[in-house]
């Protein structure tokens, strides 16, 4: 198991949430104080350096026109980290290539960072959440088609070394592609793709790229991984899927005591609860399939959006998108999740969010790296094959769950460990 420290580099100093309709897209930038923002960036970069010191790897991402992630140009921060660190792998997850007009430029940015870091780049690609559409002025229809054409072109760009070649595709045109520098790694940096749907995972599995899924809990994650493994085998990549092909992202906070863990974990929940998005940005036409839109008209909603209305640490742990507690508790929670979904080789740790201050963030990183990570590495070595299920009910036993003092409830059913809904 490989663990990655991740922060969305948020700017949390905002007016009350009821004073604005959306934290994404339309929240005016007059609410951003560049001096406070610069201090935050000093901090976030430093925290990534501390994660490296503790033996963890580094992950960053990109969003636009939002206080939740003030990194609209992640390759630039990747370049900074390439020079501020020396050993950590550097995962950018990712480049929103359905919204970028020039895939070749993205290939250049990744190649340059790969050289600057002496071959430590892990290049992730994302279709992008729906609220990225408006900032990019990007057409929400046919994003998947653009995404795959762009990614194929980027890989070809990295692996072509004999002078210019041309690309005249459905969406992208480039007559003389001959990128300098060439990528440092041979044949190219590992490619990651994030998707939270089973159909998306099948496309990623067929191509053999690393599949990352975010906050999908127990059953959805299991389905996504099943789909990946089935497509991997169908594409003739072999019977066994190495667990380093799969990654899971969760909110993680490890405290020395339950009380300390609870306080840290509650601050991490900001990531879910602060994500106030106006409906017009959350579902532009064409972003989800017609059938999903029909289901929404009939009242369906995303489990996370239901959850965020009445979030609690306890519910988040039970749902499987947060691992928090003492080292023993967190280890047990991760182990259960791992065994329930069939295994993954990468844990992407949202270890900082919102008002989780520097000292508490560092404490969480150190407690994880020193008390939990060694056990995970030993228990789930990189040679493990994915797709082996533990004989476990996924929900952690009571003694491994942090209890919140207030009553736990969600508007919708919790995502159950055992496949059904539980009240």
């Amino acid at each position: 198991m490989q663990a990655w420290h991740f922060s969305e580099s948020a700017y949390p100093y905002l007016p009350p949430a009821d004073s604005y309709p959306s934290i994404r897209v339309s929240l005016a930038s007059k609410n951003y104080d560049p001096k406070k923002g610069a201090a935050l960036w000093d901090r976030y970069l430093h925290e990534w350096q501390i994660a490296e010191e503790e033996g963890m790897d580094i992950m960053l991402n990109e969003h636009h026109q939002t206080a939740t992630c003030v990194d609209p140009a992640a390759p630039m921060v990747l370049a900074a980290l390439a020079r501020l660190t020396t050993t950590a792998r550097l995962l950018i997850l990712g480049n929103p290539i359905a919204n970028r007009r020039q895939p070749v430029r993205v290939a250049e940015e990744m190649a340059l960072c790969d050289v600057l870091s002496h071959g430590r780049v892990e290049a992730g690609f994302v279709r992008g959440v729906p609220y990225e559409i408006s900032p990019a002025n990007s057409n929400p229809v046919r994003m998947n088609e653009r995404f795959w054409e762009a990614l194929d072109l980027i890989v070809k760009t990295w692996t072509s070394h004999d002078g210019p070649f041309s690309h005249e595709g459905r969406f992208f045109h480039h007559r003389n592609i001959n990128v300098w520098p060439r990528v440092y790694q041979n044949p190219h940096p590992p490619v990651w793709v994030s998707t939270t749907s089973a159909s998306g995972a099948a496309e990623v599995g067929a191509k053999g790229f690393i599949q990352a899924t975010f906050l999908t809990g127990y059953d959805a994650t299991r389905k996504i991984y099943e789909s990946y493994r089935a497509a991997w085998r169908k594409a003739g990549r072999g019977v066994d899927v190495p667990n380093d092909r799969l990654a899971y992202a969760a909110l993680v906070y490890v405290g020395e005591t339950e009380q300390e863990a609870l306080e840290g974990a509650e601050k991490l929940l900001w990531y879910v609860t602060a994500n106030k998005v106006a409906p017009q940005y959350a579902n532009p036409p064409g972003y989800v399939p017609v059938a999903a839109n029909v289901a929404m008209q009939r009242g369906a909603s995303h489990p996370l959006s239901q959850f965020s209305k009445n979030a609690s640490v306890e519910a988040a742990i039970r749902s499987g998108f947060m691992f928090a507690g003492t080292p023993d508790q967190v280890y047990e929670q991760i182990k259960r999740h791992y065994e329930y979904v069939g295994g993954y080789g990468h844990l992407l740790i949202m270890g900082q969010a919102g008002f989780l201050e520097h000292d508490d963030t560092v404490k969480g990183i150190r407690n994880f790296a020193r008390e939990v990570y060694p056990r995970l590495k030993e228990m789930f070595p990189k040679t493990t094959i994915s797709g082996q299920y533990g004989d476990v009910p996924a929900a952690p036993p009571e003694r491994f769950v942090l209890r919140t003092s207030h009553e736990v409830s969600t508007d919708g059913p919790l995502i159950s460990a055992l496949g059904g809904a539980e009240a």
Partner: protein
Amino acid sequence: MKRTAVTIAGCELEIHEGGSGAPLLFLHPGGGFNPEDFYVELLTATHRVIAPSHPGFGGSQLPDWIDHVDDIAHIYLELMDKMGLTKVDVIACSVGGWIAAEMMTKTPERFGKVVLVGPVGVKTGPTDKLDIPDIYVMPPADVPKLMYHDPVKNAVQPAMLSDEELAISARNRETLALLVWEPYMHNPKLRRRLHRVASPTLFVRGASDGLISAAYLEAYAGLVPGAKTATIPEAGHAPQIEQPQAFARMALDFLG
């Protein structure tokens, strides 16, 4: 109306056809074509109405190569050939009006009289202000307020619609976004081509239309030689729905 399928350039189109008399091509707005709407009956009373569902709308296919209003204009010119419509009158609404305008600039001689209702398709105002409000970034509840004179009466009630109807509506919305996303609701070249239009053309808007302003309609009409403008009271962006009698009377009077 009867419904048939015609394949043009590999794209199977759903064609609604009804009534008798002079042929009249009806190009529907972004919401699609519903043969049950009352105004359709008023038009078929005097005309043979031919109403194709645009590619990606209603029961028409959407091939992967189509992504522009101009693609549809070419398909419809071929449809006219196939149906033997050497010269035809047109009523076209909203995005349908844009399609009609593109068609008229290509083969002006093929069109008799034309009524464009709340048409989009050109950019006439300043760079730093959208000519047409951005329906994709306003709260969804605000769109009907701009669309209708009486938004309450015209509110969509998903519970009253079948899954199939909801699916068609969602697909219409998706295809519309594909076509109008960028540049928003217009083809920058169209305004440089509209001088070729040879048809007597009437530009119509509902007095309460919050999407197509009076100034936009006047500016658009000003690009078409000899075009006239008219307003239908107590109607928004879809006067054919809110004021079917007044709409039909005005359109049919103009077509003569």
